[in-house]
């Protein structure tokens, strides 16, 4: 942008006679010439303003004693009172811990899954088989979470579920998976992998497709086998993509896919399943404590912001790869 302004400025100069308003004249000139670009840019900017920046105005209720009758502006300031309430609330602390634990499991198992899948797809030589397999693993991504949770609930049902049927074959008693806190996290993380690993592998497959084929040919002549090529060529070549995806993932650590949590959890499993966003949802929308919920949401956002900044700068320092 700066470049454009200055270059158009250079052309505009001879036209403007008064020196004091020449800057304004340059800007007008620039808009006149480049207005199409701004028109194209406008929808995105409007979208950001309406859906991301305007709602930020409402964030101030995190620091106010908000009541819907008084409105955002007229509600009195209360400083950090809501944050003090939050951090003395055991349920909130538990939700934060649950969020971190689930995210950690997701990062540990859910993040590598699409990478491994992509590497495996890359080794399949039979074209039709490869395409079929890919389509099958992409499918769950396109199914709504409501149906996904329905499938999961059915599969783990103690009476008719396939899982308990199999357990029954070995002579064991049925397990009430979805009511037992210790099972929630494995089921949740597993469901997430089932739903998203296939679709997530597309990014990595694209990265693999971008690797120069003569690197492999050269390695073949040098005597490398497929395993060595995977470790010494493919993985290092897609490492920048992996790091970028990791940074994005880390930025989303506080954003456990909570629609799925809401669909799968129940009061019996709150102990391990309740995450910050579901807690916010219950406090805010169900109990009407909007100000407290806003404070929790803001806390979430600040943590995510710090995490993503840290991950980005670490990545830039150690691997020359970064989001910005």
């Amino acid at each position: 942008m700066a470049d454009q302004t200055s270059s158009s400025g250079a052309i505009a100069k001879p036209k403007s006679t008064a020196t004091d308003n020449s800057r304004w004249a340059q800007t007008v000139d620039h808009f006149k010439r480049e207005w199409q670009l701004y028109v194209m840019l406008a929808p995105t900017i409007i979208w950001f303003i309406v859906f991301l920046y305007k709602p930020m105005y409402g964030l101030q209720i995190a620091f106010k004693d908000y009541s819907i009758f008084r409105g955002v502006a007229a509600s009195p300031w209360v400083g950090f009172e809501h944050f003090e309430t939050l951090f003395s609330n055991d349920q909130f602390i538990r939700a934060v811990m649950n969020t971190i634990k689930i995210s950690a499991l997701n990062l540990l198992f859910g993040f590598p899954a699409p990478i491994i899948l992509a590497l495996m797809f890359n080794e399949i030589l039979h074209a039709t088989y490869k395409k079929t397999a890919q389509t099958i693993v992409y499918l769950p991504h396109f199914i709504s979470s409501v149906i996904i949770s329905g499938i999961v609930i059915t599969a783990f049902s103690p009476t008719a579920g396939i899982v308990n049927t199999v357990i029954g074959w070995f002579g064991f008693d049925p397990v009430y998976f979805l009511t037992q806190p210790e099972w929630f996290r494995p089921i949740f993380v597993g469901t997430g992998i089932w739903q998203e690993a296939g679709f997530g592998s597309i990014v990595f497959l694209a990265a693999i497709a971008g690797v120069n084929p003569s690197l492999y040919e050269s390695a073949v002549v040098d005597g490398a086998n497929r395993w060595q090529m995977m470790w010494k060529i493919t993985i290092p070549s897609i490492l920048p993509t992996i790091l970028i995806m990791l940074i994005i993932r880390i930025g989303n650590i506080m954003e456990v896919s909570w629609e799925l949590v809401i669909l799968l959890y129940q009061p019996a499993t709150y102990e391990t399943a309740d995450v910050v966003n579901t807690w916010v949802y219950r406090q805010g929308l169900q109990s009407g404590q909007y100000d407290l919920a806003a404070a929790a949401g803001l806390f979430n956002a600040v943590v995510a912001f710090v995490l993503v900044m840290t991950a980005n700068s670490l990545s830039r320092r150690f691997s020359r790869t970064s989001l910005w």
């Binding site: 003569s214 690197l215 040919e217 050269s218 390695a219 073949v220 002549v221 005597g223 290092p236 490492l239």
Partner: protein, 358 residues
């Protein structure tokens, strides 16, 4: 004897045959250059030698051993790719060490081998750099280094210089030649640049459309092209080719006759293609030369020489003339003189060289 032998080598992709039975013997320590227009099957042939493409038919022998079904790694060949195929995530030393590590060479031996080769190639101070931080010529050298450290029986080059600018290409060309003289490894080199072929090769293989047109030393091919294709491929600018008809004493081109004493031997009336190298004509008549009237289109000075673009009748041709420091005397040229002994004749239909005198 680490020679390479190709016998009736065929390559087909499904029903499409792209290499039609190639026979070629590359002797030990020989530097053979495959040259030909784009798409003629040079790379495919080279890649079959490397084992990167399956051989559809025929036999490939390296060092006396039949290689058709042998895995690339066991053929003991090293290949230099057009785009260098350097690993972007590894530095120069690790790039060169890649093949050695895979072959489980002891660490200290790897280190000394790389140090030696880096010394030869002038890469010693760049060993720690990544490919992205090297110039094109340096990358090219690393690619060569990676092949050299392996001490293979055969080097295969697929247009290794075509990504370099003209000056660097000349320089690297000489370097490759020196390296070959020093290492004496059997080499097969693919290029579409005839100058590269002429300067590097012990023997040149001219390919066209999946088949070999002629094999021979650079000067053999230059002096006695087997057909019009080879004649039109080698030399810069290449040989002029004009349609003509033989008479008892020479060849008629348009409305001029070129005397060819002692060459016709009863072939009068035959349609031929008359080949004249641009540098063989003179501006002044000499012994046994015939005058060829021309209409001059354009004079291109190159320095010590100039190219004269001209036509005779409908046939466009290019001649070379010495400038002696000025091109003024060339602008008025309307006749060139063709020395009888240097004229080549080809059959008008088959394009094959005719040796009527014999």
């Amino acid at each position: 004897m680490a020679g390479v032998e190709l016998e009736g080598i065929v390559k087909a992709y499904g029903a499409l045959q792209v290499v039609h039975g190639i026979d070629l013997n590359v002797a030990e320590k020989e530097f053979v250059v495959l040259v030909g227009p784009s798409g003629c099957g040079k790379s495919t042939t080279l890649r079959m030698i490397a084992g990167l493409e399956e051989i559809t038919d025929g036999t490939l022998t390296i060092d006396g051993r039949m290689m058709n079904r042998v895995a690339p790694k066991d053929r003991d060949v090293a290949m230099v790719f057009q785009n260098y195929a350097l690993y972007p995530h590894l530095n120069v030393a690790d790039n060169m060490a890649f093949g050695l590590r895979i072959r489980k060479m002891p660490k200290d031996q790897i280190k000394s081998t790389i140090a030696d080769v880096a010394e030869i190639l002038g890469l010693t101070e760049y060993l720690e750099r990544r490919p992205a931080d090297l110039s094109g010529g340096q990358r090219q050298r690393v690619a060569m280094g990676r092949a050299i450290v392996r001490h293979p029986k055969v080097f295969l080059f697929d247009e290794p210089l075509s990504n370099l600018d003209a000056k660097l290409r000349t320089q690297m060309r000489a370097e490759i030649k020196r390296l070959h003289n020093r290492l004496g490894v059997t080499s097969v080199y693919v290029t579409h640049d005839q100058v590269e072929a002429m300067t590097l090769a012990d023997r040149i293989v001219v390919m066209n459309d999946g088949a070999i047109e002629q094999v021979g030393t650079p000067m053999e091919l230059f002096n006695n092209p087997a057909n019009t294709f080879v004649a039109g491929f080698l030399g810069s600018p290449p040989m002029n080719q004009m349609r003509g008809t033989l008479t008892d004493t020479g060849a008629v081109i348009g409305d001029a006759e070129i005397a060819l004493p002692g060459q016709i031997n009863g072939h009068a009336g035959r349609d031929v293609i008359v080949g004249i190298r641009p540098e063989h004509v003179t501006l002044l008549p000499s012994e046994q030369s015939s005058a060829l009237p021309i209409a001059l289109d354009l004079v291109e000075p190159l320095g010590s020489e100039a190219l004269l673009h001209a036509r005779h009748g409908d046939t466009a041709m290019v001649f070379k003339a010495e400038t002696h420091g000025s091109i003024d005397h060339l602008s008025g040229v309307d006749t060139v003189h063709v020395p009888a002994g240097l004229v080549k004749l080809f059959d008008a239909e088959t394009g094959r060289a005719l040796s009527l005198g014999a």
